[in-house]
C-alpha cells in the first residue's frame, strides 16, 4: 500500500458536498436474447439527510431500476451496471463486496415496494416477517423480536397490532398490508428509505393515508426518503425536490415549488398539463402524444424529440446537456429557457 498517502482511507473520506447518497452518472443495461436495452443512461441524483426526493416518470423510464441498483437487488444477469458510482456516506457501494452490500441493505438503506401482497411472503405471519430482520441481522431473541414487531406495527398505526401479529398477509386490507411493509422496512432504523410506488396499488383515500404516514415517519425518525412515483399529485405535498426521468435519464431536476410553477422541460410541462384541473372546465384533457421509446432503439438526439411540441432539427441531431437554470435547477432541453418562460406566463 505505497499509495495509501495519496488515496484517503474510506473512513476519513468526507462525502463531497456532504451528500448522504450520491448517484453519479449511472449506466445500466439489460442484456436479453432480443438485444440490449439501455435502461439507465447517465442518471445522477443526490439525497441529503432528512429530505425527500421524488423520482417521477412513466413505466420503463428507469426509476425503479435506479432504486434497485442502489439497493443492490438487481437481477444480474440480465442487468449489467456499465458505469457510474453510487456513493453512500462517501463510500462507493458498487465497489463493495456482496457481503458488505448485504450489511448496508435494510440497516442503512431500506426499501418498500409497490404491491405489498406479492412483496410479502404469503406463507409466514406478518409479525414473523417483521421480526425476521431483527432475529437474523441483530441477533435478537424470538420474544424480543416479537415485542419489537408489535411496536413497529403500532408505529405504522396498525390497529390492535398485538392481536394481528400472527395474521398472514392475505388477511390484511391493501392499506394495512402496505403498513406492514413499511413497519418491516423500519425494523433496523435505516437512514434512507426508498419507497417504490408505495401507493400505486391502493385506493385513492388509502393512498393519502399512506403518504401522510410516510411523511410523518420520515420526519419523526429523521430519515431521508426517495419517493418513486408516476403520480404528480402524490408528490406535491411530500417531496422537497423532484427528479423527472425519461428514457433512463433525468431530464429535469428542481425543487417542488418552482417545478410546479414553471416546468423547464416540455415533458414535465406535458405531464403537469395532463392533470385534470377543477378550475378549468369544459376543456379537453391535454395528453402527451405518442409512446415512451423502445429502450433497445432510443431515438437520436433528445430521446423525447418524437413527442415534443418544441422539436427543432437540433433536437434530432444533438443530445442535450443538463442546462443549469439557477437555484440548482437543471433541464436536459435545448430550449429549457423558452419552455420555462412559456410555462410561467400561462
Amino acid at each position: 500500500m505505497t499509495h495509501s498517502a495519496v488515496f484517503p482511507s474510506p473512513a476519513s473520506a468526507t462525502p463531497e458536498g456532504g451528500h448522504l447518497l450520491d448517484v453519479r452518472d449511472l449506466h445500466v443495461e439489460f442484456r436479453t436474447s432480443e438485444g440490449v436495452a439501455k435502461v439507465i443512461n447517465g442518471v445522477s441524483y443526490h439525497l441529503d439527510p432528512g429530505e425527500t426526493l421524488a423520482v417521477l416518470g412513466e413505466s420503463g423510464s428507469g426509476k425503479s431500476v435506479t432504486a434497485q441498483a442502489i439497493m443492490g437487488i438487481l437481477d444480474t444477469p440480465p442487468a449489467v451496471i456499465r458505469s457510474g458510482q453510487i456513493l453512500y456516506q462517501g463510500r462507493d457501494l458498487l465497489t463493495l463486496s456482496e457481503e458488505q452490500r448485504r450489511q448496508v441493505r435494510g440497516k442503512e438503506i431500506a426499501m418498500i415496494f409497490q404491491d405489498a401482497l406479492s412483496a410479502l411472503n404469503p406463507t409466514f405471519p406478518v409479525g414473523w416477517q417483521i421480526g425476521e430482520t431483527l432475529r437474523q441481522r441483530e441477533g435478537m431473541s424470538r420474544g424480543d423480536a416479537r415485542r419489537r414487531a408489535i411496536e413497529l406495527m403500532d408505529l405504522v398505526k396498525i390497529p390492535a397490532a398485538a392481536r394481528r401479529i400472527g395474521d398472514y398477509p392475505h388477511q390484511f386490507s391493501g392499506g394495512m398490508r402496505q403498513r406492514v411493509m413499511i413497519a418491516m422496512s423500519l425494523a433496523m432504523d435505516p437512514k434512507v428509505l426508498i419507497a417504490d410506488e408505495p401507493t400505486t396499488a391502493l385506493d385513492v383515500t388509502v393512498q393519502a393515508q399512506i403518504m401522510d404516514l410516510l411523511a410523518d415517519l420520515r420526519r419523526d425518525l429523521n430519515m431521508a426518503m426517495i419517493l418513486i412515483t408516476h403520480d404528480l399529485g402524490v408528490v406535491a405535498g411530500v417531496a422537497d425536490r423532484i427528479a423527472v426521468m425519461y428514457a433512463g435519464r433525468i431530464i429535469e431536476h428542481a425543487d417542488v415549488r418552482s417545478l410546479y410553477k414553471a416546468p423547464a422541460h416540455p415533458y414535465t410541462k406535458g405531464l403537469l398539463e395532463s392533470i385534470p384541473r377543477m378550475d378549468v372546465r369544459g376543456q379537453e384533457l391535454s395528453t402527451i402524444k405518442g409512446l415512451p421509446p423502445n429502450l433497445m432503439r432510443i431515438p437520436s438526439g433528445c430521446p423525447f424529440h418524437p413527442r415534443c411540441p418544441y422539436v427543432q432539427q437540433v433536437c434530432i441531431d444533438v443530445v442535450p446537456h443538463d442546462l443549469v437554470l439557477g437555484d440548482g435547477r437543471t433541464s436536459a432541453c435545448h430550449f429549457a429557457q423558452e419552455v420555462r418562460d412559456d410555462s410561467s406566463t400561462r
Binding site: 440497516k107 404491491d115 411472503n121 437474523q136
Partner: protein
Amino acid sequence: MFRYILRRLLQMVLAFFGTTLIVYALMFAGQGDPIQALAGERPVTAAQRAYLTEKYHLDATGVGGFFYRYFDYVKNLVQGDLGESLTGRSIGQILQQAWPVTVKLALIALAVAILFGVTAGVIAGIRRASIFDNSTLLLTLLVLGIPTIVLAPLAQYFLGVKLQLFPPTAGSNPTFYALLLPGIVLGSLSLATALRLTRTSVAENLRADYVRTAKSKGLLRRRIISVHVLRNSLIPVITFLGVELGNLMSGAIITEGVFNIPGVGFNLFRAIKTEDGPLVVGIVSVLVVVYLVSNLVVDVLYAVLDPRIRYE
C-alpha cells in the same frame, strides 16, 4: 376445517359405496355360471349346486337379485368380513399378508423420490440452464418415456442377473434388500415427476416479489432460499407426493409382477387372471378406502402448508 373434514368423510362413504357397486357389477356381469367358474373344469353335483345357490342367493335373478347379493356383500363388508376368495381362502387374511409388503415397497419408492427427486429439483431450480439442469431434464424425460413394463425387466436383467448387485426376485417374505431394486424402479417415475415439479416451482418462486423483499432486508442468500423459497416451492411438491403415496400403496401390479413380490398388486393381478370375482372386489374395495383417505390427508395437509387456503 372440522366441518370440512366431516363433510369429506361423508362424501367418502358415498364414494366408497359407489365404487364398490360398480366394481361388483362389472366383475359379476361378465361371468356366465359362477358356480361352474368356482369349480373350474370339474363337474358339479346337484347337491353342491343347491348348497352354493342357497349360500350366495343365486336363485334371485335379475336386477333385484343383483342388489340382493350386493347388499349381502356390503353387510358383511361393514362388519369387517371381506368374504372368501373362490379358492376358499379368507380375503382378509390374503390382504393381511400382502399389505405390509406393498407398504414397504411404496415407502422405499417414495423415499427414493424425495431423496433424489426433490433434492435434484431444488438444485436444478436454483441453477437454471446449467449443465446440471439440462442433464436432469434429459434424464427425467428418458425415465418418463420408458414404461415400467420395459424398465422393470431391464433393471432386473442388468442389475439383478448380469451384475448381481441385487436379488433379481423377491419371493415370499422379502427382505428390505430384496425390495430395494423394485422400490427404485417403482420410485423412478415419481422421482422424475417430483424433480420436474420441484425445479419449476423453485425457479418460479426465485423470481417472486417476496424474494426481492427478503433480499432488501439484507438476509443471507442461503436463508432466502432455504426458508422463503423452499417453504413456498414445496407446497405443490408435497401435494403431489401425497397423492403419489396413495397410488403406490394401492399396489404396483407390473413391478410386483416382474420381481415376484407377493404384494397387493401381485394378488390383484392373479385374481383378475383367474377370474376370482370375490377376491378382485375385496381388494379393490380396500384400495378405494386407501385412496380416499390418502386424498383427504393431502387436502388437509395442503391447507396446513398454505395459510391462504381455508376450507369452509
